[in-house]
Amino acid sequence: MDYSIKIGGEAGQGIQTIGETLSRIFARAGYYVFTHQDYESRIRGGHNFYQIRISNNPVTASKSVIDILVALDNESITQHERELKPNGHVLYDSSFLRQKFEKSNFLDIPLSELAVTYGGSKIMANTVAVGAVIGMLGMSPEIMYELIKKTFKKKGDDVISANLKTAEAGYKFAKERCLTCSFVISGLETSKMLITGNEAIGAGAIASGLNFYSAYPMTPSTGIFNFIAENVKDFSIVVEQAEDEIAAINMAIGASFAGVRAMTGTSGGGFALMVEGVSLAAMTETPLVIALAQRPGPATGLPTRTEQADLLYALFAGHGEFPKVIFAPGSPEEAFYLTNKAFDLAEKYQITVIILTDQYLADSQWSYKDFDLTSLKYTDYRIREEFQKLKEYKRHTFTETGISPLGIPGRSSHLVVTDSDEHDEEGHIIEDAETRVKMVEKRLFRKMPLIRKEIAPPQLYGIQSPDIVIVCWGSMYGIAKEVVDELSDKFKIAMLHFSEIYPFPEQQNWINVLKNAKLSIGIEQNATSQFARLVRMETGFSIQNHINRYDGRPFTVEELKEKVYVYLTRL
């Protein structure tokens, strides 16, 4: 079983509601689910879609071909009818579209009419659509009913009953009328969790002891802010919507200085405003985690679309020289654990860790059996109860590791002093050359080799001594992985995926994989192969071939496979 369902329509028509409800039904039924969203930067109108892929095996990317198209506007049909598989079907309401299609694979369903008849309101047309898709697939409606009961629990029995009736109406209509529908659905399995990249970062942060999140809303990072804000009560978190991103990062730095785990999140434009703060955190050695969800630039660019073009920008962000860690998770699961690692490293080494994602990963939903919570790390590196017992205290004490004791101001009669100016061990402004040199040594040269030891090498997926190596990073993971799966029958191909981007790991065996391969192909969602440039800078190795995409849309499995295949035929 490997089906794709696309819900297309104008913004504001309920595409997201239908898409999310269906995805949750499928995950609850125990299927593996992958979804991705394509939307315009507007509240109403335009053309948007929500694509869902379901299978009984793990799925990590979208396909180019679809099985069911739920068309809420005419544009959906114009643009996406051609994506239908030979036995694919379109679900539409001729009264919405003011057009009737006389094709056997088009199911005309009176969404509004059924919503009014069974639910008493046009709003429930979305529920009818959900029921209809379940009916077309031939799934049992029980899981859908369960989910409706759970979703509307707080809204009372009347709302639940109205939704159940409309869902059933849609379900029955499709099941009875779609005579050509011949989908084969697997049996139920253990329910899967369904999580987006943004939610995974939020959950990872909370599970790492996040206490403070300040941000200015910016697509596609806002989902992190929303998720954290939903959970403030259970986990003692203060969230603050700052007046701008400069304030957001400075507030987070202030909170961290005062003794709590703090984070901010933004996208490229907002990060531009934060850059002086990145440098400030470095000079004051204040632990900080930043989520940077990329979208295509320059400037406002394509606000709701995806790109990986801020890698070198993030790497070089901040005036002066200082250590920094950059993670680029490949999936929500990695985002969850790497956010945990980000907090641990930020606190341990008193540095900034950037979690670099993009719109594609931020908004995509992946499904999992479970997250292993026992592997989460939580160590409190700050001096709390024992602070008063110290004989003396200097915030920026020179040490073997470069890591100075991080005291909580107010917890002791010792003073915690720090400065954005170059400073002495106590934290007071200095100008002398000797202290300056020792401070650079402490912040940079002593810490960096230790940080490097913490970084995991890239993941080699596929055959262990490949002829062909696909090199990618961050959100390219799921797509490239499926391409390798599909090509590994015929070719000795593997993927080298980087999610701990910087610094490069101490262990560098992976370079030999590249050197020994006949062909290396870098795949990046940017125009200038930024990661390949980073590899060359750090290792001297030049990746020979590049596949770049910078139209703001993610690859489907077929699209990437075709691009890779061009190189393989030349071998």
Binding site: M193, E199, E243, S420
Partner: protein, 283 residues
């Protein structure tokens, strides 16, 4: 209990005769008289001559970036509202570079005390106009004189319903000390704009210039009358009032956050047992 000696910090690098010395003295005496020990408060400062202030007293210090004192102070206060949090900045620092933060700190009414060393000039960069420089002032970078309207921090603060608005004068140390003490004991965001002559670069607004104009608000002045306060805040020229111009009682920002009602954020532990149910929400 701390004595004045306990607030003795690094040797100041200010110019001899700088107005900042009396601000420092007023501050230290105010702290000693209030019984606030150095470790019980944090000073967040920016960049400029005022930014060096915390090094010259003794306290927990975050000497951050130009213009960014208030966001850092806000973060500290939200993380630990038991700490007294003061922000010290200059006119260029807070009214220029950090103007947006000032507006929003006033709106929030976070319990931070802001002391502005207002010398109507950029001192550290050697004499350019600041937002509070008077119209017509000629400097190296304003060769035809300042064209822009002089920024009026008090009028803006009153317009934003700032919970405590005052003006002090470095040449009236006792009065300034009383203002600082009143601001520290006030609940809510407090702004003291301190007129502080720059002896090196501002040849217009000198000690003498201020002395001829500055007068203390009368005891009959009612700082709770907002319209009157706005009127008073517009008074500038031949006579310049000092004292508490406006005061009001507004809900304090951090007191409205349920999460930190019981105890400060910094004292709260991660609820490990709840992580499982957090993940459970994704099923």
């Amino acid at each position: 209990m701390s004595t004045l000696q306990d607030y003795s910090g690094q040797k100041p690098a200010w110019c001899p005769g700088c107005g900042n010395f009396s601000i420092l003295k007023a501050f230290n005496e105010a702290m000693a008289e209030l019984g606030l020990n150095p470790h019980e408060f944090v000073i967040v400062s920016g960049i400029g001559q005022a930014g060096k202030f915390p090094h010259y007293t003794r306290c927990n210090t975050f000497n951050g970036l130009h213009g960014r004192t208030l966001p850092v102070a806000t973060g500290i206060k939200l993380a630990n509202h038991k700490l007294k949090v003061f922000a010290v900045a200059g006119d260029g620092d807070c009214y220029g570079e950090g103007g947006n933060h000032l507006i929003h700190a006033i709106r929030r009414n976070i319990d931070v005390k802001l002391f502005i060393h207002n010398n109507q000039i950029y001192g550290l960069t050697k004499g350019q106009a600041s937002p509070t420089s008077m119209k017509g002032m000629i400097t190296k970078t304003q060769p035809f004189g300042v064209f822009s309207e002089q920024f009026n921090p008090l009028a803006m603060a009153v317009a934003l319903n700032c919970s405590f608005v005052a003006r002090g004068f470095a040449g009236d140390m006792e009065h300034l000390k009383a203002l600082i003490k009143e601001a520290v004991t006030h609940r809510g965001f407090s702004l003291i704009d301190i007129l502080q002559p720059c002896v090196s670069f501002n040849k217009i607004n000198t000690f003498e210039w201020y002395r001829q104009r500055v007068y203390r608000l009368s005891e009959n002045y009612d700082p709770f009358d907002r319209a009157k306060a706005f009127e008073k805040s517009l008074e500038w020229g031949d006579s310049i009032p000092i004292g508490v111009v406006y005061k009001t009682s507004r809900p304090v920002f951090e007191e409205q956050i349920p999460v930190i009602k019981e105890k400060p954020l910094v004292e709260q532990k991660l609820a490990f047992e709840k992580i499982k149910s957090l993940i459970g929400k994704f099923y």
